[in-house]
């Protein structure tokens, strides 16, 4: 068994050619008398190296029958590995993936079993072989000292010196400095390229501050895009709403991520409306941004009796009765309310965009 955990004694004992007192070499306490102290770490109460315990023979070392048994186990494991590989090949052909979802399951399961047997067979067999049959006698490999000899060190310095003289690196300072300059300038294009991954020619904060909602945009059902009449929204209902025309947008998912709205109708008597928002609901129909103000998960777990809105990610809870104030959880701000009204045909429309940025906080948000 290799013995890497050499104590100071091993080094001192085997490096007799070195100056025992040099540098930080650790010398045993017994050698202290003739060494000149220096920085040596002297342990007076350290443990004596107890050495290795006597090698205990394994059953396979004593009993040839057990050894044969272990040998059989090892080659059986290797045979199992071969069988597993062949099984995986056969399973791949026997269980092809077709339109039926169940075929994916069968293909994956049998291919996986085969490959598992193949790899585990090799691994378990190899370990079992090493543990039960390979020689287990402990040996000692003493680690050589890390420090090179003085001649080697001197020669290394000479090589650097010669290289400097031959290349003129230290003498021709203009060449050297221009090379350093070139190396410094070289990564700059990468910085520009990475900057180019961010939105260009537009202020990202402005993108976050506005959504697709405009004055008169109809509230339509997600995903069909059919407009919603105020009369269709019965008390206790929850409608998942997207702005009209969202499905025709080239960047519809980006737009939806900001403009998604949950529409609910509750008894108008239950609503506590703050001054300035009196006209934002229509006869108890309220529309709130579905994007959580914590980290932007869709808040849509509406409890129609308690009028609580729960975010499934971190359990932020908003009270729809009180303009979606946070009553529990990590969110800091209430959900932004979309001011709504009805148009001449009775369809629900937005009065304007949200009056504040939707979703989580960002640096530029005032």
């Amino acid at each position: 068994m290799a013995h890497d955990d050499s104590s100071g004694k091993d080094i001192a004992a085997t490096s007799s050619g070195l100056d025992a007192g040099a540098g930080t070499a650790v010398v045993p306490a017994s050698a202290h008398a003739e060494a000149d102290g220096g920085l040596a770490v002297i342990t007076t109460d350290g443990f004596e190296n107890p050495g290795h315990p006597p090698t205990r023979p394994r059953v396979t070392d004593i009993d040839p029958k057990k050894a044969r048994h272990a040998q059989r186990a090892v080659y059986t494991l290797f045979y199992i590995s071969i069988a597993g590989s062949i099984f995986a090949l056969a399973a791949y052909m026997a269980f092809p993936i077709n339109d039926d979802l169940n075929s994916v399951r069968l293909n994956t399961v049998f291919l996986g079993i085969g490959i598992t047997l193949a790899l585990f067979g090799i691994g378990l067999g190899a370990v079992h072989w090493a543990k039960s049959l390979m020689s287990e006698e402990e040996g000692e490999d003493i680690r050589h000292p890390v420090r090179g000899t003085d001649e080697t060190r001197l020669r290394a310095v000479q090589i650097f010196d010669e290289a400097n003289k031959e290349s003129g690196f230290g003498r021709r300072t203009l060449i050297r400095n221009s090379l350093i300059g070139a190396l410094v300038a070289f990564p700059l294009p990468a910085v520009i390229l990475f900057r180019g991954l961010a939105p260009e020619y537009s202020n990202p904060a402005a993108l976050l501050e506005t959504t697709m909602w405009k004055t008169g945009t109809r509230l339509t059902l997600d995903p069909s895009g059919l407009p919603v009449k105020a009369a269709d929204v019965t008390i206790g209902s929850a409608f998942h709403i997207i702005p009209e025309g969202l499905n025709d947008q080239p960047d519809r998912l980006e737009q939806k991520a900001k403009a998604a709205v949950l529409l609910m109708r509750i008894n108008p008597a239950d609503l506590n409306v703050s001054p300035g928002r009196e006209t934002w609901n229509y006869d108890g129909i309220v529309a709130y941004s579905k994007i959580c103000t914590h980290v932007g998960c869709p808040v849509a777990l509406f409890e129609q009796q308690t009028h609580h809105l729960l975010c499934p990610c971190h359990q932020s809870t908003f009270d729809v009765n009180n303009e979606c104030q946070v009553i529990f959880g990590p969110a800091k701000r209430p959900l932004p309310q979309l001011p709504i009204t009805v148009d001449s045909e009775g369809y629900l429309v937005a009065q304007s965009d949200f009056t504040e940025p939707v979703g989580p906080s960002f640096w530029e948000r005032s």
């Binding site: 370990v127 995903p223 919603v228 929204v233 929850a238 409890e303 129609q304 308690t306 359990q315 809870t317």
Partner: protein, 265 residues
């Protein structure tokens, strides 16, 4: 005015009593006649009948009126049932949620306390009080719609509470959205239509009857087809999967490490 001299009263003192007796006899007789004919007419039909309304009225008075009020007008302990419709009653009573065993965060599913006929009678009675959503017909419940559309609608409208695989999920303060696996199509439909407990209402303008059928199709598809990914672990997502891999995956690594480093016998 009522206290005129007896002479001036042309009616016999017992005339009022007789009149009331005649009136009662007519009403009671007419009622008995009417109900018996109704029974004779629609004995085999499962639709609303006067007899089942009468039966439902009795059942309601005996089992529901304590909380919902004698005229189902609601009390401090239970909501009004005016306008909830037959669908709501069929869902709540048919799944055993009503009558409540006790007040709690939400009504729990139990073995139903009433037979199908009694449930029907209660539904007929409540529906007779005021119009409301009716129990869906069999052709609205066939799970042969468009599962792809149903899946999209389910993910938009239902998955946030009921989990994307319909395995259910937790809400606030002890409430929860139940597991939808194995739930009768009729009850799924009625729940969408009426919004039981804290579930929002998804009326026919929000999710049309065809869309509701598609959602049921999707749920039945999930239920009847095995997961292509192998063990579902209850479809509960990262919590169940994380627990599994921490216990069995890391456990296996620890066991192998112990075996690798243990001294051979």
């Amino acid at each position: 005015m009522a206290r005129k001299p007896a002479k001036a009263n042309r009616r016999h003192p017992l005339a009022t009593v007789v009149l009331i007796a005649i009136g009662l006899a007519f009403t009671g007789g007419g009622y008995a006649l009417f109900t018996s004919t109704a029974t004779a007419q629609t004995d085999t039909s499962a639709t609303s009948t006067a007899s089942s309304v009468a039966e439902g009225s009795k059942l309601f008075a005996a089992n529901c009126a304590t909380c919902h009020g004698l005229n189902s007008e609601g009390t401090g302990n239970g909501p009004s049932l005016i306008g909830v419709g037959a669908a709501s009653v069929d869902f709540q009573v048919g799944t055993g949620r009503m009558p409540l065993a006790m007040q709690g965060p939400q009504a729990m599913e139990k073995p139903p306390q009433f037979t199908a006929e009694q449930t029907q009678a209660l539904a007929d009675y409540v529906a007779s009080l005021s119009p409301g959503p009716a129990i869906p017909t069999a052709d609205q419940l066939t799970a042969n719609g468009n599962a792809t559309n149903g899946g999209e609608l389910f993910r938009i409208n239902c998955a946030m509470c009921h989990n994307v695989a319909g395995a259910g999920g937790a809400l606030t303060e002890g409430k929860f959205a139940p597991d939808l696996t194995g739930v009768d199509s009729k009850y799924i439909y009625e729940a969408m239509l009426t919004g039981p407990q804290n579930m929002p209402v998804f009326n026919d303008h929000n999710i049309t009857p065809e869309d509701k059928r598609d959602i049921i199709t999707y749920l039945k598809y999930l239920q009847n087809n095995p997961s292509p990914g192998g063990f579902e672990l209850g479809n509960l997502g990262p919590v169940a999967e994380g627990l599994f891999i921490w216990i069995f995956g890391i456990g296996a690594v620890v066991a192998l490490t112990v075996w690798l480093t243990a001294k051979s016998n």
